[in-house]
């Protein structure tokens, strides 16, 4: 009762702060620019935030933080738009959404897909914010329990769950993951500084840009494919009415649980610095596919396949604030920039921020709600506009997209080498498409491979080379046991399926 009234008091304080005209204005500006940065392929959160960063010197700390945060989570909202319409993820974490979102658009359901992902983003974010409001201290306690040993086992579980994501051939899926890991290896070994596949080029020391990889694999290959086939692959849209955007009753029924599971997975990964939305969206997609009664629908426009990842990456975006704000230690560059805003204004980020600056802290949290509501208001009316974009003749649309992709990719590091990589990965993606290799596992391997290595080797340093550390630490042991369970289940399923197939085939020949 008492805790509840304290919370209510904080909510009132936060709302009072967040609704001040200045803060409200910068919140709206932030989410609007965030949406734009998300919609334009390649322009990422960090680029958009650093563009507006100089402005924060002239604002109050609350307004500055509210604006940058708005850009941060707004980008994830917008990222799914081009994923669905053009098979071109606006941000890497929206890549998974393309798997089922694009087929939906091709069958004329782009409006529904955009509407539902907006809803999924909102619900995911709301659940993330709620966790942040109520359980922050407990969540920080849990996050601190995660060292490299635990991260390693968690990544293994993630990889095992996601490995079987690819539809047709598990072998092709596996080899795509390996290719992704190989690309992920490029750069300096963080433990010894040894150069790997850098060919002495300093621009490669920090590895290949994930934006260049995602844009090339997914977007450019799609464009090459369309041009080769001599026709626009984007579906013709007759007209966009409110009705054409509304999901059917069946859509809503199918969406409910994936939405919640996605939010749960995303909230969990968000609190672990360094993992974030991309891994969360992959894992939640893989979970939906695994537990679905009709996994064959996935990849062909299953609504579960867009709801789970979108709810997941937005939830992760919100819960990522928990360790950052509670410990004052940034997990990512974007979070570092937000803490930088505090420092510039002479505020010390850290555990006492909540006690010393309650108006700022709760104002920020309540601005998340307001920002997410604004995002709903901004995004839903835009759906019609986006869908109509598809009616643009492709000889105008594709060159325009290419320009944006190049601009966006270049903006990440101001380095032209990244544009060459977009071209290279476009070619690789097109090749993979021709040979029907799945592309999402390449991205997954690219993200997870280096993380698994980093944490494995650090765990080995701490344990002085003792491999049993992975099973003697309880959290790690649990993840490994779960991985083994998932593996055994899938082998069992595979056995059942093949014997059934064999029986059917036997029956078939016997019948003839």
């Amino acid at each position: 009762m008492d805790a509840a009234s304290v919370l209510l008091g904080n909510i009132a304080l936060g709302l009072g702060t967040a609704l001040q005209p200045e803060n409200l204005f910068y919140c709206a500006l932030g989410v609007f620019l965030g949406t734009l940065a998300g919609v334009i392929p390649g322009i990422g959160t960090l680029a958009a935030m650093s563009l507006l960063f100089p402005l924060t010197f002239h604002l109050g700390p609350t307004a500055a933080l509210v604006m940058l945060a708005g850009i941060y989570y707004g980008t994830t909202y917008g990222g799914s738009t081009t994923s669905i319409l053009l098979n071109l993820p606006g941000t890497p974490s929206a890549s998974v959404t393309a798997i089922d979102g694009y087929p939906m658009a091709q069958t004329g359901r782009a409006g529904v897909a955009l509407f539902m992902t907006t809803v999924a983003s909102f619900v995911g974010a709301s659940i993330g914010i709620m966790l942040m409001m109520i359980f922050s201290p407990a969540i920080v306690g849990i996050a601190l329990q995660f060292g490299s040993t635990e991260y390693f086992s968690l990544m293994v579980l993630g990889l095992v769950v996601a490995a079987t994501m690819s539809a047709d051939s598990p072998l092709k899926g596996l080899s795509a993951i390996v290719v992704g890991i190989l690309f992920g290896l490029v750069g300096l070994d963080i433990y010894t500084g040894a150069e790997r596949f850098t060919f002495g080029v300093p621009s490669l020391f920090d590895g290949i840009s994930i934006v260049a990889l995602a844009m090339g694999l997914f977007g450019i290959s799609e464009i090459i494919g369309s041009i080769r086939s001599g026709e626009s692959r984007v579906a013709a849209i007759e007209k966009v009415s409110m009705r054409s955007m509304l999901p059917s009753r069946d859509d809503v029924r199918r969406s409910r649980w994936p939405l919640l599971r996605g939010a749960g997975v995303g909230s969990f990964f968000g609190t672990l610095p360094g993992t974030g939305g991309t891994i969360a969206s992959f894992v939640s997609y893989a979970i939906e596919k695994r537990i679905s009664r009709e996994p064959e629908r996935f990849g062909k426009g299953a609504i579960e396949g867009i709801m789970a990842p979108e709810s997941s990456n937005n939830a992760a975006d919100q819960t990522a604030f928990i360790p950052t704000m509670a410990l004052g230690i940034p997990g990512t560059a974007s979070m570092a920039m937000m803490l930088g805003v505090l420092m510039i204004h002479g505020l010390s980020p850290g555990p006492s921020l909540l006690g010393n600056q309650p108006a700022l802290f709760w104002g920020l949290i309540m601005s998340f709600w307001i920002g997410n509501l604004l995002l709903l208001l901004i995004n839903i009316p835009m759906i019609g506009l986006w869908v109509r974009l598809l009616n643009t003749p492709y000889n105008y649309l594709y060159p325009a997209i290419l320009v944006f992709v190049c601009l966006g990719t270049y903006s990440v590091a101001n380095n032209t080498i990244d544009i060459w990589f977009v071209i290279l990965f476009g070619a690789i993606g097109y090749g993979a498409r021709l040979l029907s290799y799945p592309m999402p596992p390449i991205l997954l391997g690219f993200v997870l491979g280096p993380l698994i290595e980093e944490h494995f080797r650090r765990a080995m340093l701490y344990s002085r080379g003792d491999l049993t550390t992975f099973v003697t630490q309880p959290i790690s042991a649990t993840f490994l046991a779960l991985s083994a369970l998932v593996l055994m289940l899938s082998v069992a399923m595979w056995l059942i399926r093949t014997t059934r197939h064999a029986e059917k085939a036997d029956g078939g020949t016997a019948g003839q």
Partner: protein
């Protein structure tokens, strides 16, 4: 034609900037550099170096009478950004906001045979900061002396975390191990944030890092501060002893931020830039930067050259002594 268009764009940007309340419309002095200045930061936006560069860019714009823009050119462990400035036109409109890494990476890699002290033109050391030896409370040592005794009694048991292989934090740890003759295990991270989290959780035992963002954990007792690493006590922590005081005179690991010009930057432009940097220093700015743990003090170009030469000698010695080698 080309010029007039870019001028117009500039004017529009300037107008837009003023409309947005970006303040400090540069006084168009006749002694300007003939166009906007790009201050290159060799890291992605958001880090400590980037924040400082951005904090200084506005007052520097006012002092120089030219718009100063921070440009992030990350990659290659700062080599990409450094090279982009090294080979830029020596007109004072492309500058590097460099750090210890500008020296360290070149010592370690000798990439394209440039010499960061001779080939880049020193303009001014802008800010310096001693690092601090911080530890998890579970480590049975509250001073450097006790740390040394503990590490000698348990060789190889102390884990020291750093923001990365060959970072200043790493070098400082190796320096401590070398002068105190103790054996600690270096555990590199990708960035100071994740390393700090493992220090807070008690997986790592010590870390030699900036106090920025850490002070509060020390005040709450979640971490403890053993010493600072400068030649003298830190002005922000006058009560905390230095490593040198613990019996290792000459121990000095300072992080610095400095402005470098391209190859062959003419002396008069160097002088103009140095003057501009001196002009931006106000008591108010100094105080707010000290609050972030850094001492804002502009050196002369000659002082900077001497400082860099000395720093490079120290780094090279430690690197060859401790055998930090890159394959």
């Amino acid at each position: 034609m080309h010029v007039s268009i870019s001028r117009r764009i500039q004017a529009i940007c300037l107008a837009a900037g003023m409309a947005l309340g970006l303040g400090s419309a540069p006084a168009l002095s006749q002694a300007g550099l003939g166009g906007p200045v790009s201050l290159v930061v060799a890291y992605a936006p958001g880090g400590a170096t980037d924040l400082m560069a951005r904090t200084l860019s506005d007052p520097l714009s006012a002092a120089l009478g030219e718009t100063v823009l921070v440009e992030n050119r990350p990659g290659g462990g700062t080599i990409v950004g450094t090279l982009s400035v090294l080979n830029a036109a020596p007109d004072g409109r492309t500058l590097l906001y460099g750090t210890n890494a500008t020296l360290l990476n070149q010592i370690l890699r000798d990439y394209e045979n440039y010499d960061p002290v001779e080939d880049l033109t020193p303009v001014a050391v802008v800010a310096t900061q001693p690092l601090a030896v911080i530890a998890h409370p579970s480590l049975p040592a509250d001073t450097i002396e006790e740390l040394v005794a503990h590490a000698r009694a348990n060789p190889g048991a102390v884990n020291f975390a750093s923001s990365g292989n060959t970072s200043l934090q790493h070098i400082a740890g190796e320096m401590l191990g070398s002068v105190a003759e103790i054996d600690m295990l270096h555990i590199p991270y990708s960035g100071a944030g994740p390393a700090l989290i493992d220090l807070l959780a008690g997986r790592a035992d010590i870390m030699i890092t900036s106090l920025v963002g850490v002070r509060e954990h020390i005040e709450s007792g979640a971490l403890k501060l053993l010493a600072t690493t400068g030649p003298e006590r830190s002005p922000s922590d006058p009560d905390v002893p230095t490593v040198a005081e613990a019996g290792y005179p000459g121990f000095n690991a300072m992080s610095f931020q400095a402005v470098f010009g391209p190859r062959d930057l003419p002396d008069e432009i160097v002088a103009k830039l140095n003057e501009g940097l001196r002009e931006l220093v106000t008591d108010e700015l100094k105080a707010s930067i000290l609050q972030r743990g850094m001492v804002l003090e502009i050196s002369s170009p000659e002082e900077m050259r001497a400082y860099l030469t000395e720093q490079r000698e120290t780094f090279s010695r430690i690197i060859s002594e401790t055998g930090i080698v890159l394959q």
